[in-house]
């Protein structure tokens, strides 16, 4: 016997009264339902305005198409995922330490910051042609385009976070006998991690936008072109293109959740609550 909608709603409200994972899962589900509802409404409005033509498919049609085309978009999903993850790693490995150094070492800051102020405002899209000329049209250029865009994002966040460290923490370890390297290891790195993880979250959206642009260039490989190429190749059919767009959303969601999990592990101290004396 199935539950009545009123009973399901009562149970759901009961979940919202809990704290911890039950509540957060319930809120997540509510948020997704709300998004699907808005999507459905927007789809209906667009259909009405366009005389019944389906430029924006409704979520049920799009999800059904996504399931039907899983064999086509999934290999592209894997390709896009590794390109994006590799680009994030490259940007992180280069941008984070350099950002920390220029945030903490005054002379290096004076030398490098003017370069950043000149280079960062230039839209990185402007470098795409140059990168294609350097790297060709294969995988390296797609990774390089995304890594370049994210590098500045991470570099600037790391520099800002390193500048804003509470000096008491630095004094504390210096008075305990820390060397310069130990100050980085015990204070600068852990103190800046939360800001950098926030910056990585922002980078996912930016990275996906650049990945899409990079993947729509060049010849289409139906299995290894990436989601950008998949969407471009299916642009004649809105519902099929939406299967690719949903796959991109899924990739973003997986990366966001991964960063949340990493934060839970590496910034465990942030999730503690004060107890009484």
């Amino acid at each position: 016997m199935t539950d009545s909608p009123a009973r399901v709603w009562r149970r759901f409200r009961g979940c919202l009264r809990h704290s911890g994972p039950i509540r957060s899962t319930a809120m997540y589900a509510l948020s997704v339902l709300l998004l699907l509802g808005l999507w459905w409404g927007a789809s209906a409005v667009v259909k009405e305005l366009k005389g019944g033509r389906e430029f924006l498919p409704n979520p049920v049609r799009a999800i059904a198409e996504m399931v039907r085309l899983a064999g086509f978009w999934f290999p592209n999903f894997v390709v896009s995922a590794w390109r994006l993850v590799l680009a994030i790693l490259i940007a992180f490995v280069l941008g984070y330490p350099l950002g920390l150094l220029i945030g903490r070492e005054r002379r290096l800051d004076e030398l490098i910051s003017p370069m950043i102020y000149i280079l960062y405002p230039i839209p990185q899209v402007a470098f795409i042609l140059l990168l294609f000329l350097i790297f060709g049209i294969g995988n390296p250029v797609k990774v390089a385009i995304v890594a370049l865009a994210l590098f500045f994002q991470i570099l600037i966040s790391a520099r800002g976070a390193a500048k804003n460290i509470e000096e008491t923490h630095v004094t504390s370890v210096l008075s305990a006998g820390a060397s310069r390297w130990q100050v980085y290891r015990h204070v600068i790195l852990p103190a800046t991690l939360p800001s950098i993880l926030t910056s990585l979250r922002v980078s996912i959206g930016l990275g996906m936008a650049f990945l899409y642009i990079a993947e729509t260039f060049g010849t289409f490989d139906p299995r290894h072109g990436g989601l950008g190429a998949f969407i471009r190749a299916n642009s004649y059919s809105a519902v099929q293109a939406f299967a690719g767009i949903l796959a991109m959303a899924l990739l973003g969601l997986i990366l966001y959740v991964a960063i949340d999990l990493i934060e839970r592990v590496v910034c465990r101290w942030k999730f503690t609550v004060r107890r009484s004396s």
Binding site: T168, T171, S172, S175, A176, G177, A178, H186, T272
Partner: protein
């Protein structure tokens, strides 16, 4: 034990140089407790940090056990205003920090010190999970872990409520009588200076110079706070501070 000879500390260089400490000379005996008191921003902390080896003397010198002080030393421990705990390290990791940084493991380990301070049950907690009083005790544990012969404290009980403050002052006194380190306490609290300092050095407005030194030899008893001698010391210190403020 500690000899401060004509110490001058300046920030900045050339025309922009700002003098924070101006020609302080002072001797602190082994096992003595000394309180430094003066108007806000007068240079007390700068003087203390110079004794910790964190600031270099522009002129003059500091000698610890007849050796010139150049940089931080294992036998000098510093307790900061908010205990200086690192939020990302547990209580045990914070207490063990000085030992880890110096890669030295003397007889007194972090475990022993935490037990002595009644913090054994809190080893795996993070500072955010602790009350203010517990945080200060962890700061003390970290300082004690290296068995220092000089304990420097920079307003260690600022922003605590009165009862917690008095409990921790009692703890400082007990530790000082047990461990017999030389104690230098910077404070803006007259009663704290009178309760913990065998001598109270009153400093002038910036740049800090010694205005007067008030002897307070009866320090050392937990009941001292209730005595007439304590009230007398408080009154003398108030007068001295009013003269410099």
């Amino acid at each position: 034990m500690i000899e401060v000879d004509g110490l001058v500390v300046e920030y900045g260089r050339g025309a922009r140089a700002t003098r924070a400490v101006d020609g302080i000379s002072l001797n602190i005996d082994k096992g003595e407790s000394l309180a430094l008191i003066g108007p806000s921003g007068c240079g007390k902390t700068t003087f203390l940090f110079a004794m910790a080896g964190l600031y270099h003397a522009t002129e003059g010198a500091i000698r610890i056990q007849d050796e010139p002080l150049r940089g931080t030393r294992r036998e000098i421990a510093l307790i900061l205003q908010d205990a200086g705990l690192l939020p990302w390290k547990t209580v045990w990791q914070n207490a063990n920090l000085s030992l880890k940084l110096r890669r030295e493991y003397p007889a007194k380990t972090a475990d022993e010190v935490l037990e002595e301070l009644g913090l054994s049950g809190a080893k795996s907690l993070y500072p955010a999970e602790l009350s203010e009083g517990m945080k200060r005790r962890v700061g003390v544990a970290r300082a004690l872990a290296t068995s220092p012969s000089v304990m420097l404290m920079d307003e260690p009980l600022a922003s605590l409520d009165t009862l917690t403050k008095e409990r921790i002052q009692d703890l400082f006194l007990k530790l000082w009588t047990t461990h017999r380190f030389s104690l230098v306490l910077v404070t803006h609290d007259i009663e704290e200076a009178a309760f913990l300092g065998q001598r109270v050095v009153v400093l002038t407005e910036r740049p800090a110079r010694i205005k007067t030194i008030v002897p307070n030899p009866e320090v050392g008893d937990l009941d001292f706070r209730e005595s007439g001698a304590f009230l007398d010391a408080v009154s003398r210190l108030r007068e001295a501070l009013e003269e410099v403020s």
